[in-house]
Chain length 330, copies 2
């Protein structure tokens, strides 16, 4: 994708609907040149507001749809802006389920103008089933008690902490926002079911013995909607290390009337699953999401979890991820 980006926030009324844009703004500030908001937009990423034409004049390469919605469809309200971006000379990238390439007015404009449209959720590769063969290099996978608990953020924070101390590390994206941040990856939940572990093997190929792939986890072994994706990703990733992502105040799975598993059960189940393709796997830390907790409460929870599990525990947003990386850099 041609950088830098114009982050399209559309008519998003609230922050929870621009998580793709917010992720790019946080982790790739150097690419986040401007934002483009429509009437009705209720959020602000603190970037200069530009139209596609203004952004093109400033050297922007791609307009990224940074807004999400339930269903993952391209809103009709956005169509004129997308075509305007193509006409201004920008490429356009989307992580929605619905493909830009399937919308005639967009496909035609891109073809006529010679622009590139990126539907990053659509796998471009042809995958094969995983083969479970051992690959060189080291791999860390984030797993979780539930969806939307911080697996992507944790992986990015660990990559950052590793690189800060000179370790060889690459974040490996498995979801649309991660792919936009990294510039590559595979939306693992969008591949054909037979090829989940094969796609995960493709994502973290053989590498130097001291190189770490830090792989973004998806779903949860305890989530009845998505556990199949989670298990295939675990098997294909062959992690040497797992970091378990947890939100201490969460009681029920996202969107379902199912309780969250307890932390010990979650650690053990993920290790048992991972041992199939890597008998040496270890749990090396607990990453907690404390966005709904106060500072005093957080300190106590960290102590409690460390005592209970014997593993380092931190919130990567509050504390960074150095504490977890210490164990791998010994």
């Amino acid at each position: 994708m041609r950088t830098p980006y114009l982050l399209f926030l559309g008519d998003a009324p609230e922050f929870s609907m621009i998580k793709t844009a917010a992720g790019i703004r946080e982790w790739r500030p150097e690419f986040s040149r401007a934002q483009f908001r429509l009437p009705g937009c209720g959020v602000d990423l603190g970037l200069p507001d530009m139209t596609p034409a203004e952004a093109a004049a400033e050297g922007v390469g791609t307009m990224v749809l940074g807004v999400v919605n339930v269903g993952g469809f391209i809103s009709e309200v956005w169509l004129a802006s997308i075509v305007a971006a193509l006409e201004a000379g920008l490429d356009v990238a989307s992580g929605m389920h619905q493909r830009l390439a399937d919308i005639p007015i967009i496909a035609e404009a891109a073809a006529r103008l010679g622009r590139t449209i990126h539907d990053v959720r659509q796998p471009k590769q042809v995958f094969t089933p995983g083969n479970g063969a051992k690959r060189s290099g080291k791999r860390l996978l984030t797993v979780g008690i539930d969806c939307v608990v911080g697996k992507k953020y944790t992986a990015l924070a660990i990559e950052k902490a590793m690189r800060a101390r000179g370790m060889k590390a690459d974040f490996r994206a498995t979801g649309q926002t991660g792919i936009m941040i990294a510039g590559h990856g595979v939306a693992i939940d969008a591949v054909i079911a037979d090829f989940i572990s094969g796609a995960a093997e493709w994502l973290s190929p053989a590498n130097d013995p001291d190189h770490w792939d830090v792989i973004e986890g998806q779903g949860s072994l305890f989530h009845p909607s998505y556990a199949g994706v989670t298990l295939g990703l675990i098997h294909g990733s062959q992690p040497d290390a797992i970091v378990v992502c947890h939100e201490p105040v969460r009681t029920h799975l996202l969107g379902l009337d199912y309780p969250v598993p307890d932390l010990r059960t979650c650690i053990d189940a993920n290790l048992a699953a991972a041992r199939l393709t890597n008998p040496e796997v270890r749990a090396i830390g607990i990453s907690i999401n404390t966005s709904r907790m106060g500072a005093t409460e957080v300190d106590q929870v960290v102590k409690d979890i460390e005592a209970e599990t014997g593993l380092p525990c931190c919130d990567p947003i509050r504390h960074g991820a150095s504490k977890i990386v210490d164990l791998l850099d010994a």
Copy 2:
């Protein structure tokens, strides 16, 4: 699909590669009119050998690709035969991942000649993620220590045994061969990864309280290529009962340098996974594949497994599945 069938065995060197053809031959003998073999084919289903033209003259309606391979692609070696079948007046059905409809020479021939091509592995429905909500009716799922161990055969034999004693039962197909036998179903490994459990929920909808869906299992929780599919199918099926399929003389997973799990470990892991969406799940029998064992050896193995597990054990090919159904019909 227009019956009867010409079963295309292609250049398959060994029996394990024609399981689709063998399944149709076994469970739908009335539709299995002839076989079509290419040079190099090392298997024989005991049907008359016919070319597509000869089969058409005998009233055959559809040529079914009865051969499988890892990856599910249409071999170039088969293309001329497929086109010949279309030109002879036959429809063509395939259970491969790669679609006949995507191969220009086949699509063009079908369009020009007015024939129908059936890509049964391609889901026709639009699925959504599973929701884990309880459904009425009872469900039995076959699971296994490995792939290709008898899960489809066991499910079909259990449906047959249930119906023979007047129980309400329906075989639910999850793979291409099962779909060709049943006439409907979903190739669960061909759906988008996000929708595995949702597709399984769709496959066995709410039903009468005394009705059994007998669901064909896929893969194995212990197979690093396919375990994600297996787990999503378990969660979406919400089985009340599982039957564990086993081959006592098998030492390694199909095609991989991985040992098979021991039977107890396999039973426990499948029950643990199934409890997430149905805490009442029970293991109710062991189905063994004894095709590579002698009769005396089989008798001893049945006794040993029954003593070890406390569950009824039988080979549905040698013994039928009544012994397993007894426990549900009490």
